[in-house]
Amino acid sequence: MVRRTYARWCGRRGAERTPPTRFTSQAWAAGYTNEPKGGTVTLGFNVPQTGAYADEGADELRAYQLAVEHINGGGDGGMLNTFTSKALKGDGVNGKKVVFVTGDTQTKSDAARASAKRMIEKDGAIMITGGSSSGVAIAVQGLCQDAGVIFMAGLTHSNDTTGKDKRANGFRHFFNTEMSGAALGPVLKNAFGSERAAYHLTADYTWGWSQEGSIKKYTEQLGWQTTAAVRTPLGAGDFSQYITPVLNSGADVLVLNHYGRDMVNSLTQAVQFGLRDKQVNGRDFAIVVPLYSRLMAQGAGENVKGIFGSTNWHWSLQDAGSKAFVKSFGTKYGFPPSQAAHTTYCQALLYADACQRAGTFRPSGVGAALAGFKFDGLGNGPTEYRAADHQCFKDVLVVKGKEKPTSKFDVLEVVEVTPRAQVEYPASMLGGELGPYNDGA
């Protein structure tokens, strides 16, 4: 009796002990991290749901859900219909239905990495995407490189993401501060002349430093002076102590290197302090917000009128891709998408398309399909994923706060579309090394 029970127990244990997959799959190909086995493939959407960038994060999540719906064949297909690559057929990716898990980055590197690790280790996510802060994006990109999954960067604008801190497994669709500077320079010269003195207020982290550097570089080329560049903590809330000194500094342009709620707060306070009504050195005082988004402009309300900035995408664009995206996003959620929503939607689509074209989810295979990929129909005109640094190159929009908005979403107008050639730079300029792809275990 004892013997029989023991034998049965052994049998059960034996049946449970399935051999590790790396020996069962084809001999020429070892497994890779979270290789999808069933009928579904899991993506991890890691966005800020709390903190200074929570509004952007919420919009990113909406866009991801919409993208998954479209990839799985639901809804009206959105930009899949205008995308030049026709690999995706609306039946998932590589025959697998796309499912997703979500997490809160809290706009903190630690929390973002913990959340991404949970997605990779527990939920089996094959790709992580999201982030509304460059600090977080860089931290999570490093993690994904170590873990052997692809990272599709969301809204991250610092040069370092695809510069100094670039990684082979990381890809960015969004533009960067170098491109913003190159696009804004000529427009600022036309609007304000070449004899200005600028005062920078800068969010004190990688993105702020990067943008301050780029704007300084291009405005000083125009002949502008930089009076001072003051660093403010991320999520400070009250910027009055930083704005008061601007009044007496002799500067006649205030550059706000802030984003999200920080920008809403600092711009509102700058306007309340009467900066825009002032005359300094015989010129009207001006404010520039180098990185603009419709969400922020809406948050700052009246105060954004006439203020210049750059943006990755705007919902009022009239190309077929943008119109298709605005239509399907608007139908589902009742308002137009932000640039954060646009870039994350594109990233999800580009990733799925690359997997489909590569016929695998293996990071090195997907990476090879993405690197050097040229496409159109996603709202930015002809775009290229440059192989040397995994950065997308496309036209940049220079925008201005609209003087006479027709609705609460119609707050920005496109001043100029700066062609890609004007914002392009050699990959070696920003340093860093991609290194090899990591497929993980």
């Binding site: 749901q49 931290a139 993690l143």
Partner: protein, 383 residues
């Protein structure tokens, strides 16, 4: 219950070790059986045990312990960058630097007691945070966090002929990779050692002296005894625990960020200790596990998961249930934690350990048919 204290401690230690080492299997059903969260359980368990040596024994409520955690992390990452990717030098240095930092802050802060002490430690921690965030950026890399580079010197690794090639290195114990489950077992062994050490401190004459400081410091002073060295020693020991925990955080994930030192992180360890039961040995570990579980699992629930969870209800009820419960999960996990904390503080002032002891006593009474044995509910004697 009638066992000698030494025997009881030994049994508790053995059970504790067994539970910790079996954690990957035990926590699987509740969705926590994955390496990253298990590592966090162990590491924050160490952090909370150390905090409890100060708060639970001497009653000094420090609101700045996250500073030592952060210092430990930075030390460990710098050790990785400069010396070696082996975790042993990293955690030894992290512990020592954490202790040294605690000695300086403790020496100044312990001149005051009660709320003034708390405020002083809070101020020091906020200072450290701001230094790490914006002043000492060459050392800490500010908000982005200190990360490894391919070009780091790593002199010891080079001396032993260890080359990581073109990829970014990750910490390994003589070839055993410190991410994933090996990383967890490394932390788990350290946790068990720390638990054992805390147990010895609790039972030692030194621990008795610390309890005396808590119960009536004035009286101790009137008897001619200088209590400050004892309090300072407790402060330094708990700072070393925090430094060690910070070092382990960097071992399992080689990145150190300033937000680890923020006052919310200091508050978190206070919550962990009180939630689990201040002054008890096991309580802080339980509290740490509970808070980390909430932070990682509850915050990940989204509407899709809730919809699936309430699938058995009719559709209108399902939507209503999801609408109500979604307030408490996802980004609302703080709300759940807050409610739980309130319930525990009001109904179980001794924390989870009091709840467990009451339960054990209740079962004992039922099982023993109302035997006259006195239940061990006093938190001081609880394992």
């Amino acid at each position: 219950m009638s066992l000698a204290p030494e025997r009881r401690d030994l049994i508790v230690l053995v059970i504790f070790a067994a539970v910790v080492l079996a954690a990957p299997v035990l926590f699987k059903p509740i969705g926590a059986g994955y390496p990253d969260l298990l590592q966090k359980f162990a590491i924050y368990g160490i952090f909370a045990i150390g905090f409890n040596i100060l708060f639970g024994l001497t009653g000094y409520l420090s609101f700045g312990h996250a500073a030592f955690l952060g210092v430990g992390s930075y030390t460990a990452v710098w050790t990785f960058k400069l010396l070696s990717m082996n975790p042993v030098p990293a955690i030894i240095l992290a512990t020592l630097v954490g202790g040294a930092f605690a000695a300086v802050i403790g020496f100044i802060s312990l001149r005051r007691t009660g709320i003034y002490f708390s405020i002083l430690t809070l101020a020091f921690a906020q200072m450290s945070y701001n230094l790490a965030y914006s002043v000492l950026t060459p050392i800490t890399n500010g908000e982005t966090g200190l990360q490894l580079n391919q070009a780091d010197p790593r002199v010891l690794d080079i001396a032993f002929g260890r080359d990581y090639g073109a990829v970014l290195p990750s910490s390994d114990l003589f070839g055993l990779d410190m991410t994933g489950y090996p990383g967890f077992y490394f932390c788990a062994v350290v946790l068990i050692l720390c638990f054992f050490l805390a147990n010895r401190i609790f039972r030692s004459p030194f621990g008795m002296m610390l309890r005396a400081v808590k119960s009536n410091q004035n009286r101790m002073n009137y008897t001619g005894l200088n209590t400050r060295p004892y309090a300072l020693a407790a402060f330094v020991i708990s700072g070393m625990y925090a430094g060690l925990a910070g070092g382990l955080l960097a071992v399992t994930d080689p990145l150190a960020g300033a937000e680890r030192m923020q006052w919310t992180a200091s508050g978190e360890v206070v919550l962990m200790t009180i939630l689990g039961g201040a002054g008890t040995l096991l309580g802080p570990v339980l509290g740490a596990g509970l808070i980390k579980y909430f932070e990682n699992i509850f915050s990940a629930f989204n509407e899709g998961i809730l919809m699936a969870g309430f699938d058995f209800l009719p559709e209108t009820l399902q939507h209503a249930a999801v609408a109500v419960s979604s307030l408490f999960v996802g980004e609302g996990w703080h709300l759940t934690l807050g409610a739980l904390f309130m319930l525990i503080v009001i109904f179980l002032p001794g924390g989870l350990m009091e709840g467990i002891n009451r339960l054990v006593a209740w079962i004992g009474r039922r099982g023993g048919g109302g035997g006259g044995e006195a239940p061990a509910t006093a938190p001081q004697t609880a394992g």
